[in-house]
């Protein structure tokens, strides 16, 4: 049975140090987020636009489909991974096992892209 986007995100969130995750479309629309109430709707709408514009810009200027951003803030890490039809964002604590998160993100991105195609 195919998993929903929420199921996929909740699975990513099981990794120790992952606080939450969300998926944006190429238009910047938030398609799914988990936990649902972690991010405010307005904040997510703005972040969706920013991430989709950033990825679109990098794709155009660098002539590549695959874009990954690993952003480090004072007390947080944000991984943004492009996928067909949008992008996956994973918010983590600084001490998170990054290789594990990236492996989970790769796997989740394929599943989400497949879900988006349907």
């Amino acid at each position: 049975m195919e998993r929903t986007m929420d199921d996929i995100l909740q699975n990513v969130n099981l990794i120790l140090g992952v606080v939450g995750s969300f998926v944006c479309s190429e238009d910047g629309e938030t398609l799914a987020s988990a936990p649902t109430r972690l991010f405010g709707r307005r904040a997510l709408a703005l972040v969706g636009r920013l991430t989709s514009q950033t990825i679109a810009g990098l794709r155009t200027s660098q002539k590549t489909r695959s874009v990954e951003l690993s952003l480090a803030y004072a007390n947080w890490q944000l991984l943004i991974k492009s996928l067909r039809g949008g992008c996956l964002c994973i918010l983590c604590l600084p001490g998170v096992n990054r290789p594990l998160v990236r492996m989970a993100a790769d796997s989740a991105a394929k599943e989400i892209a497949s879900t988006l195609r349907r």
């Binding site: 991010f39 972040v47 920013l50 950033t54 690993s70 952003l71 480090a72 803030y73 947080w76 944000l78």
Partner: protein, 225 residues
């Protein structure tokens, strides 16, 4: 008979010195970029100087900064009035000292002349960090201040600013605090750039295949104090 020439070929200090030592009575007319200055000589001294509305010693001080201009020395012309009483040698010494002081002040107040060299140095220092294959220093408006990079510095600088700026905005929207750094990974080849935000600019560093962004960032932070 009038003597003519250009200050490029004979300096004003020499002209004044020669005319005063000859104790000539004369008028010197100097024209540069549409401005006309008149100097009057009598009894071995400069007795009057005029430049536009200006008169007196200040005119000589200004004329000493002119490194070119057509001059014409016409003998036996009386001064219309006297605006200078100091000796010609004292005026020249004072004028040349003022020029030296002005040059020193300009050198002190000209950090912009040193800044590019410092930034070039910064870009090269960053490239020297183990794991860094190129560095670009770019202002927030996208202007590349310095680079030590093999590719297109404008293109790489644009990527650094574009991502750095968006990352800051994302951090603000989600209340994640200040951006520390960002790693951009592109394409199947997984080319990576580490972006670090500084108060006035962004630094973008191309990373070698096996470089650790964390270790490079540590080096950058320790080198910037």
């Amino acid at each position: 008979m009038a003597v003519q020439g250009n200050l490029k070929d004979m300096s004003l200090t020499s002209l004044i010195s020669v005319t005063c030592n000859d104790r000539s009575q004369a008028r010197m007319r100097i024209v540069r970029e549409g401005r006309e200055a008149l100097l009057f000589f009598a009894d071995g001294n400069i007795v009057h100087a005029a430049l536009g509305e200006q008169e007196g010693e200040q005119v000589i001080y200004e004329l000493l900064t002119w490194d070119e201009g057509q001059f014409e020395l016409e003998p036996d012309v009386d001064a219309p009035r006297r605006s200078i009483t100091a000796s010609w040698s004292a005026i020249l010494l004072d004028g040349l000292e003022r020029i030296d002081q002005q040059s020193e002040r300009e050198a002190e107040l000209a950090p912009t002349e040193d800044e590019p060299a410092q930034n070039r140095n910064l870009a090269s220092q960053l490239r020297d960090i183990e794991g860094v294959s190129g560095a670009v220093v770019v202002a927030r408006d996208g202007i590349v201040i310095a680079h030590d990079i093999d590719g297109d510095p404008d293109k790489e600088g644009a990527v650094a600013v574009f991502v750095g700026s968006a990352a800051s905005q994302i951090g603000q929207a989600l209340e994640l605090g200040a951006l520390v750094s960002g790693v951009i990974e592109l394409g199947a080849a997984r080319a990576r750039m580490l972006v670090v935000e500084q108060p006035d600019y962004y630094v973008g560093m191309q990373l070698e295949e096996r470089a650790s962004p964390s270790l490079v960032l540590q080096q950058v932070q320790s080198s910037s104090g």
